[in-house]
């Protein structure tokens, strides 16, 4: 069972006190204020890929689009049990939309022998939830999104569970090769062992730039995207909203007063 798992490096916003500031270009956040980590759902995808490998044999290939600093995320996946890695980097990849990102990933994946391609179901930074699904389309493969369980039924066939609203699980059979976008909570991601970390430092991360992908300039980055992110902004406080200032005791008192005044309680 060969699995390709796509991982993204995102700013660590797990601490609720993290402050996010837009940079002067208006098209990015101030990155110097963050530490960077693997996207949460991708972490579960890596674990699921390694679990499948441990059970059924095969290889896990880690694919990433990102700058050199993304190596730490890739190496950690290798330390946990990944075998090979590819990192795509080119300034012409910047501002790729989800479909374009899928095209770039597909260009790296197409030459690998694989049964399953996995991505996380959502990225914690842009929250598009589209890249994995688009990847299924670009590769011309069946796909399942928000996957919460994976089981090999027979050669060429998986049984996967998708988590739906209200806690319902949809079980479906899907032919391989296929693309699965993995939901958090599907497993318990392991910690890399020291031995694994040491071994990972010796594994090669293959680099691919635009030329290596075989794509043309108008198929990558902003030029290759049909939706373009124009600007980030912080919403203005609306007229109908009243922000209450002060500590909890003060604000709860004010809130009670307003509710009473409007006859809502």
């Amino acid at each position: 069972m060969n699995v390709v798992v796509c991982v993204k490096q995102v700013p660590d916003t797990s601490d609720p006190d993290t402050e996010v500031h837009i940079d002067s270009s208006g098209r990015d956040v101030e990155r110097s204020k963050f530490s960077f980590v693997i996207n949460d759902a991708d972490n579960y995808a890596v674990e699921e890929a390694i679990l499948l490998k441990e059970k059924h044999g095969g290889e896990v290939t880690v694919v990433n689009i990102g700058p050199e600093t993304a190596n730490q995320v890739i190496r950690m996946a290798l330390a946990k049990g990944g075998d090979k890695a590819i990192r795509l980097e080119d300034e012409k990849f910047e501002f790729s939309d989800a479909v374009c990102t899928a095209r770039l990933l597909a260009s790296a994946i197409k030459d690998i022998e694989y049964d399953i391609v996995m991505t996380g179901c959502i990225a914690t930074d842009d929250g598009y939830t589209a890249t994995g699904v688009a990847l299924g389309q670009v590769l011309g493969l069946p796909h399942a999104a928000y996957v919460k369980s994976v089981e090999v039924v027979e050669e060429g066939k998986l049984k996967v569970g998708r988590e739906l609203e209200g806690g319902i699980m949809e079980m479906l059979e899907i032919q391989t090769p296929c693309v699965l976008t993995i939901q958090t909570g599907i497993n318990e991601p392991r910690y890399a062992s020291f031995k694994g970390i040491r071994a990972a430092s010796k594994k090669e991360i293959k680099l691919m730039d635009l030329a290596a992908t075989g794509l043309s300039e108008d198929e990558a980055g902003e030029a290759g995207s049909k939706s373009v992110m124009v600007q980030y902004s912080v919403p203005e406080v609306g007229e109908l909203a009243e922000m209450l200032e002060g500590d909890a005791a003060e604000t709860s008192g004010k809130l009670a007063g307003i509710l009473k005044e409007k006859g809502l309680v």
């Binding site: 006190d17 730490q72 190496r75 910690y191 890399a192 062992s193 020291f194 970390i197 430092s201």
Partner: protein, 381 residues
């Protein structure tokens, strides 16, 4: 000169940081209140290889360097100083003593399970009347045929009473040599008749670290339980104490960092006089000072560990790091409580625990006074 960590060191630090945040932090307040040794967490840390970091794989160890060890102790101590000392006392006092001085049989019997984290290492040096004056040891071990007969009391012994504490190495007077006490190290397995572990101390802090008084009453162990050469006890344990100081320094850095983290967080939240208190220089400057001191303490600690890894003399550096880092932790804890005001004095906020956990750092593994004595002697004074 290169201040950069290796990729391996950075990655393992990140792993330990995530582990501490996910597996330890959510339980730490409850554990501290209960004051019980956290076996489940200890086992998980063992799986990660944390109890055998600087030992070779052939002895069950992880095969990391001492810098990686120091980084790991710092990260664990950032969420729990109690667990920091559990690791530090185990590694540098318990296991290292056997690694440096044990016979092959002793290493197989004791070091391997310790490095795997299946057994906790403990070292009994301090006595009711022999603390900083370690040479004043009163515990005796007399050779009777092929057995040592041990009598005496050891106090404040970390890791000595858990269900995975299987032995303690103690220092004991084994005779006289030219009118001077001959001090040796002897391994005493738990369960040996005459070896009693008293109930745990009620400590100011370090509530989930396991600490006991141990007493030996005509306690007989085989002559082979001598660890290292007879009469080499003082020299032997001084060597592991040097390494232990790096552990306690790293622990101090972790605790000081935690104090800084909490102080800054609170300074941003807490509103007084119409603005966050962090906007007042009285608060913000204190945080800035903490930042500088924590970084300094970290650099000194890592330098001592780096020297150890290069097999260069590191005793002075370990002493300086321990002295500065422990006093930094105490100052940082005091500042963090002060910044929290009344809330810092109640257990609902972690800085209260940090403060209780900090004081002992200036006492254990050589008091601040002993460190200054060592350093002054180093200056030829």
């Amino acid at each position: 000169m290169d201040f950069d960590l290796t990729e391996e060191q950075r990655m393992f630090r990140q792993t330990v940081r995530e582990f501490a945040k996910t597996e330890i932090a959510p339980h730490v307040e409850e554990l501290d209140r209960a004051g019980e040794f956290p076996y489940e967490i200890q086992e998980k840390m063992a799986d990660l290889g944390i109890f055998g970091l600087p030992f070779p794989e052939e002895y069950g160890g992880t095969g990391a360097d001492l810098v990686t060890y120091a980084l790991s102790v710092e990260e664990i101590s950032r969420v729990s100083a109690s667990l920091g000392i559990t690791i530090s006392a185990h590694t540098s006092l318990g296991a290292l003593l056997v690694y440096l001085n044990g016979t092959e049989e002793q290493k197989q019997e004791w070091l391997v399970p310790m490095a795997q984290g299946k057994m906790l290492g403990a070292f009994g040096l301090t006595e009711p009347e022999a603390g900083s004056d370690a040479g004043a040891t009163k515990t005796t071990a007399a050779l009777d045929g092929d057995e040592w007969v041990i009598n005496g009391t050891k106090c404040f012994i970390t890791n000595s009473g858990t269900r995975i504490s299987k032995m303690v190495t103690i220092t004991a007077v084994t005779g006289d040599r030219a009118g001077k006490k001959e001090i040796s190290n002897i391994i005493v397995p738990h369960g040996t008749p005459g070896f009693t572990v008293s109930p745990p101390y009620r400590k100011m802090g370090w509530h989930i670290s396991d600490t006991h008084e141990l007493s030996f009453n005509d306690c007989r162990v085989p002559a082979d339980n001598l660890l290292g050469d007879r009469g080499a006890g003082l020299k032997t344990f001084l060597k592991v104490l040097d390494c232990g100081r790096i552990g306690v320094a790293a622990l101090s850095v972790g605790l000081a960092q935690a104090c800084l983290d909490e102080a800054v967080k609170y300074a941003k939240q807490r509103q007084q006089f119409g603005q966050p208190i962090g906007k007042f220089e009285a608060i913000s400057f204190r945080c800035a000072d903490m930042l500088v001191e924590v970084e300094l303490a970290r650099l000194m600690t890592l330098k001592a560990a780096w020297l150890y890894d290069r097999e260069e003399p590191y005793s002075k550096e370990a002493s300086m790091a321990k002295l500065f880092a422990s006093e930094t932790a105490m100052r940082a804890a005091s500042a963090a409580v002060q910044i929290h005001g009344g809330y810092g004095y109640i257990e609902d906020y972690p800085v209260c625990r940090y403060f209780r956990d900090a004081k002992i750092l200036e006492i254990g593994e050589g008091t601040s006074e002993v460190q200054r004595l060592i350093l002054a002697r180093n200056l030829g004074l």
